[in-house]
């Protein structure tokens, strides 16, 4: 699978990454190289094989609904890049 520069631009936007034009070409080459290797998965006969998303035994984990102490807004927001009292501040969303 060959990845074009346009596709890199599209994927980067989906991933919310900004890649400059000089890097895009390199990234397109590297991704193409990696995906070409991954194409060997097409050789495997997977007809009727169920997919696995992991190995854990999925049981419902239930507990009593008890009151517990919350860390509180100060602890919760302690790492916020920008805050105003108990709120996170982000750049304007609506223009």
């Amino acid at each position: 699978m060959k990845i074009s520069i346009d596709e890199v631009t599209k994927i980067a936007h989906l991933a919310r990454l900004e890649i400059d034009d000089a890097q895009k070409e390199k990234m397109a080459d590297q991704l193409s190289h990696i995906l070409k290797y991954i194409d060997k998965l097409k050789d495997v006969d997977v007809e009727g094989v169920r997919p696995s998303s992991g190995v854990s035994v999925m049981n419902n984990v239930l507990r009593e609904d008890e009151l517990k102490v919350s860390p509180g807004p100060d602890a919760t927001l302690a790492n916020a890049p920008q805050r105003d009292e108990d709120f996170y501040i982000v750049p304007g969303i609506v223009k």
């Binding site: 590297q30 190289h33 495997v44 169920r50 854990s56």
Partner: protein, 490 residues
């Protein structure tokens, strides 16, 4: 007495017999770190005062006869394990200022058992890498030869143990990140069964693959540490509800022929992997002979889908990573880019400046593989291949207790050697990835050296929740082997 060479078991004995104090031991290790870590680069964060304060508290507890499993024993932690009040960077600029508000479950367990947290170790950014060269902070060198990498992604933890900066360390393993650096640094590394150890408070990379485990100076210490960190945890829904045995009983009644009755398989597909270094092959054959002498029946087995493991892994892990790392958006914690026009601009600038190249590469692969039109061809198919890999392992463990293999195809490579070719780096993970894909435990035990004096380990894998067999056989290799030198001169 040389404090720095103490294992957990030995340190515990001396501390509990009151022959040494934790303050003396911790001070000696901190002095050694100060003297040599400029050259090794094992640590990102050392909080000297905090470590000494914990040591004093441990000494007080020992004086009061309040002794737990690790009271006063200094342990290093990979810098993706959340430590309350201590910066946790994940080797990334994205988390340069991140101070967790809580301890991860393994950290709580260490603290409850009286351990002294001596520092946070360097790693490949977000655990993505096999050399620790992807850290945003520093290069970690291999203590055996500083021109070489220590392996990765838990390279800082493995180097810290090999350099005798701590009694032991914790690392994490998503595709070999405990076992491969342990092999390259000549120490013991154990990746437990998926679900054996709680992942709560571990910054996630590939959630269906990640597992926390010990990196130690010997196999006994791996069992001691595993005893403490294992167990069900309601904070991790994938944590297994299974009993935790006393892993140190694995070593009872050890002697000649004591591994009689055990069967080990060598996958024929592993022997035909391209590019196995002859020195790795030689060490592997010697270890195999050793196990046979101890009574293990060694035979050839087959893991038919070995050829597809790397390809399936390098779809599944980046898919999970692209999803997990979406949380670093500059809003709730971590870095935020400045001078942003709007929210979208803030997201993009934050992620592009906060993440390094390998992390961005894996996010892009994962995003591509999960995007509309490609999901079935990539993630869907890789998940089906994963089922086949898991079946290979369940079939193999019907006829053997252990699977033997090298850890990596070659000893540690030179710093900078593989940096421009991500695929070549990925291919070196061939022997370790399967254990994560199948969720089985694996151990790396030192088994020899290359002609350049670089350590070479061997890997053993066992069925799910059978860490006991790994520890028994690993102990066998450790007790039989005559290594000229256990630790490097720094």
């Amino acid at each position: 007495m040389d404090f720095c060479e103490l294992t957990i078991a030995r340190a515990k004995k001396l501390l509990f017999d009151r022959q040494i104090s934790s303050f003396e031991l911790t001070t000696a290790l901190l002095d050694r770190i100060e003297k040599y870590d400029d050259k090794i680069g094992a640590f990102i964060t050392i909080d000297k005062d905090l470590a000494l304060e914990q040591a004093k508290k441990a000494d007080q507890n020992i004086a009061d006869n309040k002794i737990s499993g690790l009271t006063g024993v200094p342990i290093a932690l990979k810098d993706l394990l959340c430590t309350r009040g201590i910066k946790t960077t994940c080797g990334s600029k994205m988390l340069d200022n991140f101070i967790p508000q809580y301890d991860g479950t393994v950290v709580s367990k260490l603290k409850e058992n009286g351990a002294v947290i001596i520092g946070k170790t360097n790693m490949d950014e977000f655990a993505m890498g096999s050399s620790t060269e992807n850290s945003a902070y520093k290069i970690t060198t291999n203590p055996w030869n500083k021109a070489y990498v220590p392996g990765g992604s838990s390279g800082g933890s493995a180097a810290a143990v090999a350099a005798q900066f701590c009694c032991a360390a914790l690392g994490t393993d998503t595709g070999g990140s405990i076992r491969q650096p342990a092999s390259h640094c000549g120490v013991v590394g154990l990746k437990p069964t998926y679900g054996r150890v709680s992942r709560f408070g571990l910054v996630s990379y590939g959630s269906s693959l990640d597992q926390i485990g010990p990196i130690t100076k010997d196999v006994t210490d791996a069992a001691l540490l595993l005893n403490i960190i294992s167990g069900n945890d309601t904070m991790d829904s994938t944590s297994a509800r299974v009993d935790v045995p006393d892993f140190t009983t694995a070593f009872d009644q050890f002697g000649k022929g004591s591994l009689k009755g055990m069967t080990a398989g060598i996958p024929k597909e592993y022997l035909s992997v391209d590019g196995i270094d002859p020195e790795v092959e030689k060490v592997f054959k010697e270890a195999k002979k050793m196990l046979e002498d101890l009574g293990v029946d060694v035979k050839e087995i087959s893991l038919p889908h070995t050829e597809y493991v790397v390809a399936a892994y390098y779809i599944i892990a980046p898919c999970e990573a692209s999803s997990n790392l979406a949380r670093f958006d500059g809003v709730r914690y971590g870095a935020r880019a400045t001078d942003c026009e709007d929210l979208m601009d803030m997201y993009k600038k934050t992620k592009s400046t906060g993440f390094g190249p390998e992390v961005q590469r894996r996010i892009l692969i994962g995003t591509y593989a999960l995007s509309a039109g490609y999901y079935d061809a990539y993630y869907g198919r890789a998940s089906q291949v994963r089922t086949l890999i898991m079946e290979d392992f369940s079939n193999a463990f019907k006829t053997c207790d252990l699977i033997l293999s090298p850890v990596a195809p070659a000893p540690a490579f030179k710093i900078g050697e593989n940096m421009d070719d991500p695929l070549t780096m990925y291919l070196t993970d061939i022997f370790t990835l399967s254990a994560n894909m199948a969720g089985v435990p694996g151990i790396s035990v030192p088994a020899g050296y290359s002609s350049k004096g670089l350590p070479i380990g061997i890997q053993m894998m066992a069925n799910r929740f059978d860490e006991m067999s790994l520890l028994r056989a690993g102990y066998g290799v450790e007790k039989t082997i005559q290594l000229d030198k256990k630790f490097p001169d720094l």
